[in-house]
């Protein structure tokens, strides 16, 4: 079995109240206004989407929104949830991707990194030290 050595970088302390949540710094760029903002987004392996944002923050960066008929519908145990969706450039560590930001069509939303973004990065959750780190080849 091949062994690969990875080095941790850009470690961020878990956020919020106990039990604290692993989170990463994410920078969002609006493709039209070129405005950018850095936010701390919780890692949510249960969320299938891209980057969920609080509604007020989403409104600032959703200049290039998709038509409502292209919004994604997520199935939750409480029923389907529709998320608004806009194109944005998202930076996590050294990774820069053209992806999407999302927010609930109804309700306030939260800052969460979903699986569609998590699949593009290597991270380590260091539970004992309560740190979430990006990984790169050593």
């Amino acid at each position: 079995m091949a062994v690969e050595l990875l080095r941790t970088r850009d470690c961020i302390e878990y956020a919020g109240s106990e039990p604290r949540i692993p989170a990463l710094n994410v920078t969002v760029h609006d493709p039209v206004t070129k405005e950018k903002s850095r936010l701390l987004a919780a890692i949510d392996t249960g969320f299938a989407g891209y980057l969920l944002m609080r509604k007020e923050l989403y409104e600032r960066f959703a200049t290039a929104e998709l038509p409502a008929e292209s919004f994604m519908v997520y199935s939750t145990m409480a029923g389907p949830v529709v998320l608004r969706k806009a194109r944005a450039t998202i930076e996590i560590g050294k990774l820069t991707v053209q992806a999407y930001i999302e927010t609930p069509q109804h309700g306030p939303g939260r800052d969460l990194i979903g699986r569609r973004l998590l699949h593009g990065i290597n991270i380590a959750l260091l539970g004992e030290t309560q740190n979430c780190c990006l990984l790169e080849k050593a």
């Binding site: 249960g46 989407g49 290039a64 699986r115």
Partner: protein, 128 residues
């Protein structure tokens, strides 16, 4: 919570105080109401623009599909702003229109709107 406000125009504050007194309300209650109305109005404004852009998209959709498939259409202020060959050009169209609410879509791109599973992981403990 307590908030200290500086720089409020004397005349505006005087009118607020008089209106609050006439309605038998405290200044804090009147301010709270004013803030809520302001936020509601702002949300309504954003929503109506959003609705207008989506309506314009649906009206133009058939024509766009037959004439501009594969190109990028930009909508704003409730109308089609223009059609571009790529996403960056579409962004330029919106930028030069100096608007902050728009729809940019690739014409004819079949989007799968099935987001997938959203499990229980976003739930947190809350006091009842």
């Amino acid at each position: 919570m307590d908030v200290l406000l500086r720089g409020i125009a004397k005349q505006t504050y005087g009118r607020l105080k008089a209106e609050a007194a006439a309605r038998g309300k405290r200044i804090s209650e009147a301010l709270q109401e004013a803030i809520e109305v302001w936020l509601y109005t702002r949300e309504k404004q954003i929503l109506s623009e959003w609705e207008a852009n989506n309506r314009a998209y649906l009206q133009a959709k058939r024509r766009l599909f037959s004439e501009h498939r594969g190109r990028y259409a930009a909508f704003g202020c409730g109308r089609l702003l223009g059609v571009a060959d790529n996403f960056d050009e579409a962004c330029n169209i919106v930028r030069s229109a100096k608007i902050h609410r728009s729809i940019i879509t690739k014409v004819g791109e079949e989007e799968n709107t099935t987001g997938g599973e959203w499990l229980w992981s976003s739930l947190e403990l809350a006091t009842a």
